[in-house]
């Protein structure tokens, strides 16, 4: 009887339904850097961790945080022949960051990212950043949703 109940529960949860929610597939580890650090520090961190962006966390109010990406570093500093040691991340960080809710579905996130022309959106729980969703996450989540027979874009 117990086993029957366990199996019944599973049959219902694998059946296709709504799309995947952000909290299911977001990246909860967020690499950050201080506002007053140099672009060189940011480059060092990005290369070391093999990531393409860092959250520039604003002390006090996380909604005022920015993001610095490899694109910002290359286009705004290196391509202009500027010294990354002499420029602070706050000078080139993109602001404001785009915030999304953890209960949003990935098709909604794709629309937000498309409309804002951004590669990553930050997941907020009230005023606290709890995760990040990048374009690759959106693609992966869409593939999983298709495989599960869920509604997709």
């Amino acid at each position: 009887m117990v086993m029957f109940l366990l199996i019944e529960d599973v049959s219902q949860s694998v059946r296709g339904g709504m799309g995947m929610k952000v909290k299911e597939f977001m990246t909860t580890r967020i690499e950050t850097i201080g506002l007053d650090k140099s672009v060189y520090d940011a480059v060092e961190r990005m290369v070391d961790r093999r990531i393409r962006s860092l959250l520039v966390r604003s002390p006090g109010d996380e909604r005022k945080s920015g993001v610095i990406t490899a694109r910002d570093v290359v286009f705004k500093v290196l391509a202009k022949g500027l010294d990354p040691n002499k420029i602070k991340v706050s000078e080139i960080a993109s602001k404001p960051i785009i915030s999304i809710d953890q209960n949003m579905e990935f098709d909604e996130v794709a629309k937000v990212m498309g409309e804002s022309n951004i590669a990553r959106a930050f997941v907020f729980d009230n005023d606290r950043i709890i995760g990040v969703v990048a374009l690759m996450d959106v693609m992966a989540a869409t593939l999983i949703a298709r495989a599960r027979g869920e509604h997709v874009i």
């Binding site: 086993m3 199996i7 599973v10 949860s13 299911e24 999983i144 027979g149």
Partner: protein, 209 residues
Amino acid sequence: MLFKSLFSKGKKENAVIEDIAKHIKLLCSACGFFKTALETDDRRLMRKVMHIERAGDSIRREIISKIYDGAFLPYIRPDLCKFVEIVDSVFDLLEDTGYKYLELKMPEALKGECVHVAFLNRRICEMLLITFEAMLKGEDLREKILAIRIYEKKIDDIKFDLLRDAQKIDITNFWEGENLSRFLCYLTSISDVIEDASDYLQIVHVSIK
């Protein structure tokens, strides 16, 4: 057509198929309970998860004996048996993970990520069930197997972060460190084994086409 004749006819074949589905569904449930037990630090529930391993074991024995009692053509039996054995090894791994959990005090800094891995383990098991059901219908497994790989990769990414964080935790004696290390290793290995199981489904799928 051949697929349907292999998988839809015959009492013995149907009984095996039902048991395999039951086996995978039980694994999904076990993973779900494991996640809840971990999230709520419910040690009693964790012990129950470990008891499910025995139920899984008995289903495995039944499937294997039915297969060698004449279900399916002989050439397909070894791969089906191998698939069932791999699924059963996930029950063993889940049991080992549960044992290690009961022996350690989970560091708060790692708990969130561990619960996330447990959640993804449940999801990847569900995807294995979806893949198995798709195989029975003779559908293309490409999308399903890709989804399993995506889950596995996601867990792999979390694993490296977890190990890096674990190194920052103060360990006061050998066994504390040993238990934590093994717990993390087992927890993040479940998806690897599920991926192996999905590879065997693919082999069965291709071999009967």
